[in-house]
Symmetry: C2
């Protein structure tokens, strides 16, 4: 299984390290080489510096071999664009995109892209923690 992570911010880099540690083949694309460097020497995946939805960056990341693409930049529009290209041009089997603005949910639905909304999930988890308390 070969996973491409788009965006090497806090979430992307944490996910990249965790997946690589778990034995997955991982590539990470980011425009900022400092962020890629911050993955450290322990990270044995591929690092690609480039515009995350750019064909040349995606090809350098061997997208034709990817079984999964995860778009987790902080920018919803970047994530949508990269996800669409991965899904429709490179026919990647599974594409998961981070969504920050809940109002964009419908866009993803129309495009048939699986999403994960960190804010909603964390809010739900905190609520569940509180609900465990006696009222």
């Amino acid at each position: 299984m070969y996973i491409i992570i788009i965006g090497c911010g806090r979430l992307g880099s944490t996910l990249a390290a965790e997946l690589a540690d778990a034995g997955y083949n991982v590539a990470v694309i980011d425009n900022d080489s400092k962020k890629l460097d911050a993955l450290g020497s322990g990270f044995n995946g591929l690092r690609v510096k480039g515009i995350v939805y750019d064909n040349s960056a995606l090809k350098e990341a061997n997208i034709s071999r990817a079984t999964c693409v995860v778009a987790v930049t902080p920018d919803d529009n970047l994530n949508i664009t990269a996800s669409l290209i991965a899904k429709n041009i490179f026919k990647v089997r599974r594409v998961i995109a981070r969504i920050n603005d809940p109002s964009k949910k419908d866009v993803y639905k129309v495009l048939d892209i699986e999403t994960i909304n960190p804010t909603e999930l964390i809010s739900y988890i905190i609520k569940s923690k509180i609900e465990g308390d006696p009222k």
Copy 2:
């Protein structure tokens, strides 16, 4: 059960709305009145404009009645400070703080404050989704 939410950003406002909708008594403190306004007219909780760790803001939010304080600003140091005050000065029974920088985990541990790290949790959730796929 009375819950004070510290920070009315994306996470704080989502959580405030969700808890209020679930029937909890909720107060939200933020320094930015625009963010408090953005909770909308449907939000029936208390809105307090002020510095989140300031005694007068906390008192205006009726912290002496609070059963739970959740500190979810994007600033770890603000969350630590507010949590400490809630726990040690106002003796709030349960305090939960958002932590963004994992290196701060030890600080919280020493201070005996319950934390939630959104990045680690979301990374774990995405990894679990991927692991459901055939390799």
